[in-house]
């Protein structure tokens, strides 16, 4: 992200179209942001009914409950009421910020569970994304600049390796190497504020992402360097470094930025595995557990969190894209 920022500020201020674009983009961003709300609403509605249509119920599996206890539980959580009424009640609570009680984790509200787990997961995700960009962008850049050089071939081999190894393999391998043998880092667990616990999971999560970003960056930079406007820039007598920095980098970043949406999805699914492997108290486990236990409010809470995350990531990617490429901007009036 640091790199992105500096490339963007590298544009000329004196000839910049300035305020007309800034204002138009701001309006566009606000409109898109407002657009997220109805999409989330539809997502929640569909999820609400779909999970209830799936066979089984919150108190069907696990310990055998007597019919009376079962009925009592259902009544307590309002599950005996008609679906429509349940839906309205859920939305009404949601508007007040109440995500409801968890069925499977006694005495906890979904809101509290998310509040406890989300900082961990968010830290992990942000760290992984940051690492992936920090490693992937320069690697891709270097590989493209020295095509078929050592770095380029190394990257190709490494990419093949990471693709072959899923994170439930790389995670334990890293833990084994750096945790058990070298004893540099803790094997698992979490302490708020202690970066030591973050490093291994973040690296495990970042690895495939970094490789994907590096390969994207390499391919797109190679393509951009072949474009006619690069030749024009060279014909202006600008040195290679300047041509790369000012003319090639921004267009080359466009595919990487477009990948940020899918990357967010990867981070969500990837964190489920990584959090399990490293026993992190994040939100990942809630999604799996909630789904298995038919813990409706918990699943809904997770849908809300991950849905928002994905939508915001895609919006962010679109805005960054527009920032990088004026042709993707929305014309000011």
């Amino acid at each position: 992200m640091l790199l992105l920022g500096s490339v963007v500020t590298g544009r000329p201020r004196r000839f910049g179209p300035r305020s007309r674009y800034t204002r138009a983009m701001l309006g566009y961003a606000l409109r898109r942001m407002a657009g997220i709300v109805p999409v989330l609403f539809i997502l929640l509605t569909v999820s609400f009914f779909v999970i209830r249509l799936a066979p089984g119920g919150p108190f069907a599996g696990g310990r055998a409950l007597s019919a009376r206890t079962h009925a009592e539980l259902e009544q307590r959580y309002g599950l005996d009421r008609p679906l429509g009424a349940q839906y309205v009640a859920y939305l009404r609570a949601l508007v007040h910020g109440d995500l409801g009680p968890s069925y499977s984790i006694r005495g906890e509200s979904v809101g509290a569970l998310i509040a406890a787990g989300l900082p961990v997961s968010a830290t992990l995700g942000a760290a992984a994304l940051g690492l992936a960009l920090l490693a992937g962008l320069p690697l891709g850049l270097g590989a493209a600049l020295r095509r078929d050089g050592l770095l380029d071939r190394g990257l190709a081999a490494f990419a093949a390796l990471t693709l072959a190894l899923p994170s439930f393999v790389t995670g334990p391998l890293l833990a084994l190497g750096f945790g058990l043998w070298l004893r540099w880092l803790p094997v698992a667990g979490w302490q708020a504020g202690a970066a030591r616990y973050l490093i291994l999971p973040a690296v495990t999560l970042a690895l495939p992402l970094a490789v994907a970003i590096a390969r994207l960056m390499r391919a797109s930079l190679l393509e951009v360097l072949n474009a006619s406007y690069i030749r024009t820039a060279r014909a202006r007598g600008l040195g290679r470094a300047r041509v790369l920095w000012r003319h090639a980098l921004r267009p080359a970043l466009v595919p990487v930025v477009s990948y940020l949406g899918p990357a967010a999805t990867y981070l969500v699914t990837g964190s489920l595995v990584v959090e399990t492997v490293f026993e992190l108290p994040g939100t990942g486990r809630y999604l799996v557990q909630g789904a298995i236990d038919r813990d409706y409010p918990l699943v809904m809470g997770m849908v809300l969190v991950y849905g928002t995350l994905t939508l915001v990531a895609n919006l962010g990617a679109d805005l960054l894209h527009a920032w990088l490429d004026p042709r993707a901007r929305h014309e000011p009036r």
């Binding site: 544009r11 000329p12 004196r14 000839f15 910049g16 179209p17 300035r18 138009a24 566009y28 474009a227 006619s228 406007y229 030749r231 024009t232 820039a233 060279r234 014909a235 202006r236 007598g237 600008l238 040195g239 290679r240 000012r246 003319h247 921004r250 267009p251 990088l324 490429d325 004026p326 042709r327 929305h330 014309e331 000011p332 009036r333």
Partner: protein, 617 residues
């Protein structure tokens, strides 16, 4: 700078600005043929060297390689001197000082040759800051000055716009400003006018000639078209397949070519005003109309800022017919509505008002199913053949596809016979039948496009700028092919082009559009000899002739500025801002569409002043 002797002899006294000796460029080892083989050329101060050849002749590569801009993997040898500097031996830093500083480049296709994410002001400022070491404020003033010099309309606003916000002509002007920004002694222009309207072509060429004269620069004009060099160049070099075929003064090469290849290329830059055997007179109007367009109006909603909309009238009050077997040309610069007319006639867009009749049947309001069946008789050939051909299919499959759709009962054997017969008629060799579209040259692709359209023996063939992406020689071949196919099958032709000289060779009648309105309709022969509308006259004057005796004078008359933008349609006669004959009446009322006799129609208040041939518009 130094004067060039009047008889066109290369100047002897001054040392060459750029001299290229035995330049050789190879790709992929010595086994492959050299892309540029032993080319020796020189450009002198104040002189224009025209380098002419077809695409792939190595003409651009010669100059790119000379300045160290050859693509990666090229092996370059020989000697290149710019002044006292040996360029091939010079380190990158020295080359960077030469490029943009002493040598400016203008490339083809400014859309892809300008950096999309930088405003043109920023791009023009780059060489100024780099080579002239001006402070930012001064650089900014200089950018404005340069934009004014290249006749950019509204330079202060354009300076802050991105390339995609400009029209094609304005982009090429920006490109020229960039090339001039470092105050070079030599300007290398690589196909600077290809893909531009005829009027813009003339303007860019006139600008180049103007700068060459004014600044005493050396100029290298690389092009496939002899007509482009005739008005500007002092000497001409002809290249083919990496080799220099012929060099000499403009007059020598264009008037008395030694090589047969030069002669062949020259004949392709056909004489636009020569009598035209391709269009037999008297065919128009006799047969009943195939296509009739009546009082057509097309408007587009322009969303400005995504919210507020305003209507832009692309076409207004257009009525015209295409008779059976007739070829009608529709001419005008980009934005005149000619493509809109074509699309409306094909029912690809809904007109706001008016009627389109096909064989006497009203097309508007016809159910989609019926229209689809009509499509069979109404085929289309597009400008960019490659983009419209499925890359997965072979040539044979591509041409067979329409048959498969419209005559599914045909056996595959019978289909193959018809496909092969068609491919033979469009002059494609059997060796090409299994190729994919991207393996073909531009001309071959266009032949496939024509074969696809003609295999159903349509009643009407609609062509949208089918030749503008091609070399002159391929243009001529395709033009002849179209004429021949048309006469063979009695197909009517609706031919949309910005180039009057092409229309002249193919069509019996031509309709000239300006900003969405009809300005003149006439048999082509008369349109060329006695244009009635001042705009037609302007179009005719913009046509470049491959004649060094006439062309410089024609070019000298061309206005250097950008034509009025289509969006700002003035009241009264829309042409009046450009018209030399405009009067108060022209501003007040828009001229009526009136008959001028002999099947001619015109919309100009004052056409009678020159209709009798006493005065010229």
């Amino acid at each position: 700078m130094s004067s060039i002797p009047a008889d066109g002899e290369p100047p002897v006294a001054p040392a060459a600005l750029l001299s290229i000796e035995a330049l050789r460029v190879c790709f992929g080892g010595p086994a492959r043929a050299a892309a540029v083989a032993d080319v020796s050329l020189a450009v002198h101060p104040g002189e224009c060297l025209g380098v002419v050849g077809e695409s792939g002749a190595g003409k651009s590569l010669t100059f790119l390689a000379a300045l160290g801009l050859a693509p990666a993997g090229a092996a370059v040898s020989g000697r290149v001197r710019l002044g006292q500097t040996d360029l091939l031996a010079a380190p990158e830093a020295v080359l960077d000082r030469m490029r943009g500083g002493r040598v400016g480049f203008v490339f083809q296709d400014p859309m892809t040759s300008l950096t999309p994410h930088l405003t043109i002001g920023a791009q023009i400022a780059e060489p100024i800051v780099r080579h002239r070491a001006l402070a930012r404020r001064a650089a900014r003033m200089r950018v404005l000055e340069l934009l004014e010099q290249v006749r950019m309309p509204e330079p202060a606003r354009r300076m802050r716009q991105y390339p995609h916000e400009l029209s094609g002509g304005m982009r090429q002007r920006a490109m020229l400003a960039i090339a001039l920004a470092g105050e070079p002694q030599l300007l290398i222009a690589d196909e600077p006018t290809t893909a531009l309207d005829v009027t813009l072509q003339a303007q860019i060429l006139a600008l180049l000639a103007h700068f060459k004269r004014e600044r005493g620069m050396g100029l290298v004009l690389i092009t496939h078209d002899f007509a482009a060099v005739a008005g500007v160049a002092d000497r001409v070099a002809v290249m083919r397949a990496g080799q220099l075929i012929e060099t000499g003064t403009v007059r020598e090469v264009l008037k008395r070519p030694r090589e047969p290849y030069t002669r062949e290329l020259l004949s392709a830059s056909a004489e636009p005003f020569a009598p035209n055997p391709a269009a037999p007179p008297g065919t128009s109007g006799a047969a009943p109309a195939v296509l009739a367009v009546d009082d057509l109006e097309v408007r587009f909603a322009q969303s400005v800022g995504g919210v507020r909309r305003r209507w832009f009238t692309a076409l207004e009050a257009v009525s015209v017919t295409v008779a059976g077997g007739e070829a009608l040309g529709v001419v005008g610069e980009s934005g005149c509505g000619k493509s809109t007319l074509m699309r409306a006639a094909l029912q690809l867009i809904r007109p706001h008002r008016g009627r389109v009749q096909w064989l006497g049947q009203d097309l508007l309001g016809l159910p989609a199913r019926r229209i689809r069946r009509l499509r069979r008789d109404l085929q289309l050939v597009l400008q960019d053949p490659l983009a419209s051909l499925d890359p997965q299919l072979s040539v044979e499959q591509l041409v067979g596809e329409p048959l498969q759709i419209h005559e599914p009962s045909l056996s595959s054997e019978a289909r193959r016979v018809r496909v092969h017969a068609m491919l033979e008629r469009v002059g494609l060799e059997p060796a090409l039948y299994q190729r994919r579209a991207h393996e073909l040259s531009g001309g071959q692709c266009q032949r496939v496009g024509i074969a696809r359209a003609m295999i159903l023996a349509p009643r009407l063939l609609v062509c949208d700028e089918p030749l503008s992406a091609l070399d002159v020689r391929a243009q001529r071949q395709i033009r002849l092919l179209l004429a021949q196919l048309r006469r063979g099958q009695g197909t009517s032709l609706l031919f949309v082009s910005h180039d009057l000289s092409l229309v002249r060779h193919l069509c019996e009648r031509a309709l000239v559009l300006y900003l969405g309105r009809m300005v003149e309709l006439a048999p082509t022969a008369q349109l060329f000899t006695r244009p009635l509308h001042p705009y037609t006259r302007e179009l005719l004057e913009a046509i470049a002739l491959a004649d060094p005796d006439l062309q410089p004078a024609r070019l000298a008359k061309v206005a250097l500025g950008e034509p009025a933008a289509p969006l700002e349609r003035p009241g009264g006669c829309a042409f009046r801002v450009r018209c030399a004959h405009a009067t108060a009446l022209c501003a007040e009322r828009s001229p009526p569409w009136v008959s001028a006799g002999e099947g001619r129609w015109v919309a100009c208040h004052h056409f009678r002043l020159w209709a009798d041939g006493m005065l010229s518009p």
